[in-house]
């Protein structure tokens, strides 16, 4: 199938490994990705400043997918996914708002009609690609790996607009891990926030959010934490040292994107999955993967 893909800001400007691994795995699973033309910010960073302008930005990107003739849009970043998903909910509920936004969109010959289904990496792989296709693509199963999953807040809540998975007991990413032959360990901090959104106003507190979660996961003896959001990855991987400084513990926890792990299980070379870009100590994990498969 053919889907439009929307990368947002953080992935194509900082979190290259996520983009690389998504671009590698999807075509091999029968999914052709087409980048949105003329895309802009999703609106999430503008919500705190001007909610109306944020809804406009979200609608703009959805309208581009409509104009390009797509029915499905893959928003791989959690923040973008929520922004687009929530905006489409507002616009579908409130015809007056939809009219106002469409007047703004007209200047760029765009129109929001609400015909697009918005997906995130996790529900797209779980619900659309599905178990049979994923399992069939696994040539190097990750048997023996004990992993911990982090969903990220913005694909789980609020369930009032619909979400990627159950808001209090999500299981899709856990299942996706198990389809690769690895084990997902249950843990009580599963729903805890990474703190990324506080980096703009209270970075010390943000690092404490991340540090406390990472310490709890490391104490479980997990081989790695698996996520699928570039902002969470920024906190857990890129800034793990700063996060560690807030807890007084030494953190050495490998952090990987689910699509990087999936790529490994499909036999895709590490460098093509951006595994040389993770800042956390993933080398030991990669040795285990080679040994187990």
């Amino acid at each position: 199938m053919k889907v439009a893909v929307y990368w947002g800001c953080v992935i194509p400007t900082v979190q290259y490994a996520y983009e690389m691994s998504v671009r590698e795995v999807m075509p091999r699973l029968g999914v052709e990705l087409v980048d949105l033309e003329n895309a802009s910010c999703c609106g999430s960073p503008v919500q705190s400043i001007n909610m109306h302008a944020a809804v406009y930005l979200a609608a703009r990107n959805i309208a581009i997918a409509e104009k390009m003739g797509f029915t499905d849009l893959l928003a791989v970043c959690n923040g973008c996914h929520l922004s687009l998903f929530e905006a489409s909910h507002f616009l579908d509920q409130d015809k007056k708002l939809q009219e106002e936004i469409n007047i703004l969109l007209k200047d760029e010959e765009l129109h929001y009609s609400g015909s697009i289904k918005i997906w995130h990496t996790i529900d797209f792989l779980h619900d659309v690609v599905g178990e049979a296709t994923v399992k069939k693509a696994v040539t190097h199963p990750l048997n023996g790996l004990k992993l911990v999953v982090h969903y990220g807040c913005h694909i789980l809540r609020p369930s009032s607009v619909g979400t990627v998975d159950n808001p209090e007991n999500p299981q899709k990413l856990d299942r996706l891990i198990e389809w690769l032959g690895a084990k997902s360990i249950p843990y009580s901090e599963k729903l805890d926030c990474c703190g990324a959104m506080l980096m703009l106003s209270h970075p010390d507190a943000a690092f404490t959010f991340a540090g406390l979660k990472l310490k709890a996961v490391q104490d479980l003896g997990a081989d790695a934490l698996v996520d699928s959001c570039p902002s969470c990855q920024n906190m857990f991987d890129l800034r793990q040292k700063s996060a560690a400084a807030t807890t007084g513990a030494k953190l050495n926890l490998p952090i990987v994107y689910y699509t990087q792990l999936l790529g490994l299980a499909m036999g895709i070379p590490q460098e093509k999955l951006g595994l040389n870009l993770n800042r956390s100590p993933v080398d030991e994990l990669l040795q285990k993967v080679v040994a187990h498969s």
Binding site: T13, Y16, V46, Q47, A53, Y56, P158, L277
Partner: protein, 183 residues
Amino acid sequence: MSLSYNSMTATDLMTSKKPDSALRLRVLSKIGEQKPYNCYQCIRCTSGCPSMKMLELKPHQIVALTRAGFIDELINSGIVWTCATCLKCKERCPQAVAPVDLIIALRNLAVEKEVKVPESFLQSLSMILECGHISRPQPTITRKLEKIDREKLGLPKFREPDERFKAAFMKALEKTSSKESAP
């Protein structure tokens, strides 16, 4: 890099002020329905709030103070910028109040009234106006300390939206402030 707001809390500031019902209406108009009135202060939001542990954010207090009309006090205290937008309060409220939506509405009002807003939020906005995104592609390094960028990684060229975007986005920003300027 902490915020340089004065150290008075929202409740400290209340003692010297009177409720402002016009401002209250303006905040409520931003969240659609007047849900704060459904709150019975069960404090489920605050008990699950990660920013309560770290920064003493009390979502139930934001709801109560908004209802009482202490809007200036809320936005001047800076407390609305301590929310991590984890959305647990919105998910778990038995009365569908969504304290986080109120917090976002209060942040919007702080911007309109030009009360001090954390600079990083405004920086993101000016980057979007400049290049359509909150940043341009940053060079990075591998774990072996090799400098690398999108091109070397084999990723397609990063594209910024064309010129018409800026004008349209400016319009979207202006429209709101004029529409919501009247209480």
